[in-house]
Subunit: 353 residues, 2 copies
């Protein structure tokens, strides 16, 4: 039996509530497919920060590095400014483990009300490939003339050829692997004078190496509108850290809810562990009530299985999610029209396996 070492970071808020159902689903699929999981659970969170002044212990990254993958719940809580909590844990993990691919499916699932008119499951089904380590997310910059009327801030984005090429290449390779040879690029070269013309240049250079792949490039403003007007159009969409972030909440919004969407932070070279998390955040407004939708976390676990080299197990988990959602009599959480608790919904998915 193959056994994987998984670092489990429930984090804050509903992260702590959606993690147990995901682990239960993993244990169930493990029994079915003869895969073992050895979990190390770490309670690093905003509570840790308030108690100790840092989100993770000093040897946190070292400990994580001894695992095959990381399953994360959500980070962030009202008592700690977001830019502290995120830059103290989530973002360093993405960067120090060189998880430069953030891969997010946009897929209309059965049983989820689509906000768009006349769409059914299958109509919307594409992938967002987001750059995850550089770009607009940056600590470079600071404040000038602090406290005076002349006060301001500068914030500097950095795009390297190394960072840009590898994410764009991943998108082209993914399109090839999926046998959907069509890559759309998010740009804003008409407004962002330096970064985006460079991005476009690298995109075109890479495209030349994939002559069989259809390409198009859209300014982020009109691209956002097209996600709503013609989501069927897309196969693989590649964007910078910020643009990918926006598109990968918008996409799940277009398919009905961000509560069910997963996010894989991947180091494709497997030099470091990759990290899997739901797209949703810690949702302090509903935390503690056991009503959070666990599907995002469970789907993240499915993507983790795929990455670990257990694609069949991953597919089975996704199918179990779809089976439960497609059954109007099956339990579901209130956010998608049901009355079940987080645990009951998770149990139903585990049972469907």
């Amino acid at each position: 039996m193959k056994t994987y070492k998984i670092a489990v970071l429930p984090g804050d808020g509903i992260g702590k509530e959606v993690m147990p159902p995901a682990l239960k689903v993993l244990d169930t699929i493990g029994r079915i497919c003869d895969i073992g999981f050895q979990y190390s659970e770490y309670d690093w969170s905003c509570e840790t920060y308030l108690a100790t002044g840092s989100m993770m212990p000093a040897d946190g990254m070292d400990r994580l590095s001894q695992h095959d993958a990381i399953l994360l719940g959500a980070v962030g809580y009202p008592t700690v400014p977001d830019h502290i909590s995120l830059w103290g844990m989530l973002i360093p993990i993405r960067r120090d483990f060189d998880q430069y691919v953030n891969l997010r499916p946009v897929r209309l699932l059965p049983g989820i009300r689509c906000p768009l008119a006349d769409r059914k499951p299958g109509d919307i089904d594409f992938w967002i490939v987001r750059e995850n380590t550089e770009g607009e997310y940056s600590r470079i910059g600071g404040r000038f003339a602090e406290g005076t009327d002349a006060e301001g801030v500068v914030q500097t984005a950095v795009f390297t050829r190394h960072g840009t090429d590898r994410i764009i290449r991943y998108a082209f390779e993914l399109a090839k692997k999926l046998d959907r040879p069509h890559v759309s690029s998010a740009t804003k070269s008409n407004g962002l004078f330096h970064s985006m013309p460079f991005w476009d240049e690298r995109f075109e250079k890479m495209a030349a190496q994939y002559p069989g792949t259809r390409i198009d490039s859209h300014h982020i403003d009109i691209l956002a509108a097209r996600f709503v007007l013609s989501p069927e159009y897309f196969d693989v969409v590649v964007g910078s850290n910020l643009f990918g972030d926006i598109l990968s909440d918008l996409g799940p919004g277009v398919t009905g809810t961000i509560a069910v969407a997963p996010s894989a932070n991947i180091n494709p070279e497997r030099r470091y562990p990759s990290m899997f998390e739901p797209v949703h955040g810690s949702a302090p407004d509903i935390a503690g009530r056991n009503i959070a939708n666990p599907v995002g976390q469970i789907w993240a676990a499915s993507m983790m299985l795929d990455h670990l080299g257990e694609p069949e197990a991953g597919r089975m988990v996704l199918r179990a999610i779809e089976t439960v959602l497609a059954n109007p009599a099956a339990p579901r959480t209130p956010d998608i029209g049901g009355k079940a608790s987080t645990a009951q919904f998770g149990d139903a998915i585990a049972a469907a396996l």
Copy 2:
């Protein structure tokens, strides 16, 4: 009779096609309301750039400054890189004339198919207030290690207290004027370490001066999803240059088409002329066929009337647009399901006045 001096800049592509109907509507409303317009038309465009090496003549800004307002079509054409054409005309006008407010309505009009399920005209109706002179749109930065593997770019955004406060204040004042005391702010303080925490700070400071106004703040990613999931929620949304840009294409997307949306670039102190344009671009793919939808340009003219101090004339133009759109038998362009040409559609709106 009050007469206004209007600088007319059709620009590129369909800009040249949607401008004549807008001028016709202006002339018609002028006759009805006893308002005169004195137009100076300038053919500054990408063609000018290709012929002369610059988008505008050296005294371009001087000439524009002698007008009460500027009516712009669209700028940009495939033969000239966007960042050249835009930074050579559109963006300098916005900045040098201190048009720091970019005001854009999001409104579901009658007769326009809404991509969202179960929405009717009136359900979606709010305003986006976009910062228009600083922030992410910046020429600060450049390329390093050009041509080598270590190549990259830096791109620096600058947010000042001056620039941030005035746009946020405008949003609060607008909410008060509309008697819809609710302002939503677009942020991303969890990813953009310097700029957005500063934006949030200024937003909260300003909000304290408007105790009767309800406020909320959303990260741009989830805000984009909320535009799709619950557009009814919004009254006035304020965002930075980039976030406002994205939201103000997404909003029109959510209401069916960006072809009908207008954009007002306002210098509220009236020290310089303000500029009015459709949200859509030059659309090279359909240019030259006389099928472009002129509503965005005509609605922009309506906003111009409002700004010039002729709000009743502005309202009449908007009502004429709505009357024609609401009538299934009236002419309309192919993009919204009709067979009319740009000119025929414009004529129908002028006739409805």
